[in-house]
């Protein structure tokens, strides 16, 4: 069906959500199509990780303003098989196929730098550090696609407050796991490992900036950044580091992997902004993953990914073309 008119977002109705039975039937079709699928490597997609058997991780509905979009969530099967996690390969289907080698326990996250109480937290401590909330965020990838994902976790500020940042803590750097034994993608030189990301301290303390431990009511699948990841919904997806191992509070703007690799293409801020094109492509619209209708119209990309009223004031007076 060719939709000639953008009808904005549509509230999901129960009948619109793919039922387990239909989903299973489709998977059976997928298996039946195996012979045909062999025609091209990209046609074969891995099985979904979110299934009825996953470990539950419930969260109470978040009360943080803007944390619960009413848009229809992306099917969990898509969100867990279409991933950018280069530590497990650069194809979108690679992480779901290869991330089973990631060991998520034991796991520690150390917090250091400009803090009064530097500490190393075990994953079980982190899981209990604050009440788990469910937050339904839009996720906009810099490549021009987007999803709507129900995450489970809490505000990053809850953790940062525990270690008491000093007055010199102007920025936060996030260091993610880089272990050749567990991550086959590290053999490639796509990026310098470990993957580094960063935020300004006020961004990191914003209640929408989130530490996620789960999605769709379950523990995070490995390929989505288990056992814990950052989710910063108003920035392009790559700002949200996966499988975090270290958080450093620092005085100077920290190095981030993509701006080291291609400084003219990826800035430190990387706020979602339809008016600032990526040098390689326009950022004005996005394709919503999970809309099976091939002719579904692309969605217009929103300023700060639709979180302008919550986060816009942090960038008041900044030239966002310069600080892209």
């Amino acid at each position: 069906m060719l939709l000639l008119k953008d009808r904005g977002f549509v509230h999901p109705i129960a009948s619109e959500i793919t039922s387990q039975a239909v989903f299973t039937t489709r998977r059976r079709w997928l298996a039946a199509m195996g012979a045909v699928a062999a025609w091209g490597p990209r046609v074969a997609w891995p099985q979904a990780a979110i299934t009825a058997n996953g470990a539950a991780l419930p969260g109470a509905r978040s009360t943080v303003p803007g944390a619960l979009t009413m848009e229809k969530p992306t099917p969990s099967a898509d969100a867990s098989t279409y991933n950018n996690f280069y530590e497990f390969g650069t194809d979108k289907s690679d992480p779901a196929q290869h991330a089973h080698t990631l060991k998520t326990r034991p796991w520690t996250v150390s917090i250091e730098g400009e803090v009064k109480k530097p500490a190393t937290f075990g994953i079980d401590e982190l899981l209990k550090l604050s009440a788990m909330e469910e937050r339904v965020y839009r996720l906009r990838c810099v490549e021009g696609w987007s999803m709507v994902i129900p995450w489970v976790g809490y505000s990053l500020s809850e953790l940062l407050r525990k270690v008491e940042p000093t007055g010199n803590a102007k920025y936060v750097q996030f260091v993610t796991l880089a272990d050749r034994a567990q991550m086959p993608g590290l053999r490639s030189s796509v990026l310098d490992w470990p993957y580094l990301e960063g935020l300004r301290i006020d961004e990191a303390m914003h209640p929408l900036a989130m530490l996620a431990f789960g999605m769709y009511g379950q523990v995070l699948p490995n390929q989505n950044g288990a056992p814990l990841r950052l989710v910063v919904p108003w920035k392009y997806g790559f700002k949200s580091g996966k499988s975090l191992v270290k958080i450093r509070l620092v005085e100077q703007q920290p190095a981030t992997s993509w701006s080291l690799a291609a400084p003219q293409e990826y800035g430190f801020y990387s706020n979602v902004n339809p008016k600032v094109d990526h040098p390689r492509w326009s950022q004005a619209s996005e394709r919503r993953i999970g809309e099976v209708d091939l002719f579904a119209k692309k969605h217009p990309t929103l300023m700060f990914n639709g979180y302008e009223s919550q986060v816009g004031s942090m960038y008041a007076g900044m030239d966002l073309k310069k600080w892209f």
Binding site: R26, A37, V43, W45, Y82, W281, S282, I289, V292
Partner: protein
């Protein structure tokens, strides 16, 4: 050269068989059929538009390599009947290029021509791919026998040498497309194939073989 006289005679008759061309025609349509089946059954993954666009690009490149392989294969093996298949492979290359471009125009750009023009100008890899596609059009349009007569064999031949530029542009298009992730494994494979196929022609040309001219005048006699 590489083949014994008996096996060459047998393969010659296979290639010349009247069922060979229809079989090749059907085979060349299978990738498209599989993609359409994938669209219908929702088996193209979470981003079917992207899978469709990229797979059509892959098949364009594969068919281009096959088309370019005909002449060297014929020279290496002495299977002169292979020449019968070249036009069909060339036309299928152009057909998949058209499908690839159309899928991009429809699914990525939603047929907004102003956006397409801006996108072609803005993104070098799109510009290079579009150039390769546009260069294919006169070749496809002059693929029939009478066009050779109208143009004259020499001019027709010169026009169709554009396929070498098309091949290099196609590789550059693929290279730039993958540059974002520095994922050059597959690019290297196709680049090596094209390098061998074009390098062989350069080598032949440097030895002063007038193979292409002979072929041209032969076809023109029709």
């Amino acid at each position: 050269m590489v083949l014994s006289a008996v096996s060459r005679a047998f393969l010659q008759s296979v290639v010349a068989h009247r069922a060979t061309k229809p079989t090749l025609f059907v085979l060349a349509l299978l990738p498209l059929a599989a993609l359409i089946a994938g669209v219908v059954n929702h088996t193209l993954g979470p981003n079917p538009a992207e899978t469709l666009i990229r797979s059509l690009g892959d098949w364009t490149l594969r068919l281009l390599c096959l088309t370019l392989a005909i002449t060297p294969l014929r020279q290496w093996t002495g299977l002169s009947t292979l020449a019968r298949l070249r036009r069909m492979l060339g036309l299928f290359t152009a057909f998949y290029a058209l499908m690839h471009f159309s899928a991009y125009a429809v699914f990525d750009m939603e047929l907004v021509w102003a956006d397409i023009v801006r996108d072609v100008a803005k993104r070098p890899f799109i510009l290079v791919g579009t150039t390769a596609f546009v260069l294919m059009l006169p070749l496809a349009a002059t693929s029939f026998n009478r066009a050779i007569r109208w143009l004259g064999a020499a001019r027709w031949q010169r026009l169709h040498h554009a396929v070498y530029a098309i091949a290099m542009l196609a590789i550059l298009h693929f290279f730039w497309m993958r540059a974002g992730k520095r994922n050059f494994g597959e690019v290297a494979v196709y680049a090596a194939i094209v390098a061998v196929l074009l390098g062989w022609r350069l080598y032949k040309a440097s030895k002063g073989t007038r193979y292409f001219m002979k072929l041209g005048s032969h076809s023109a006699k029709g």
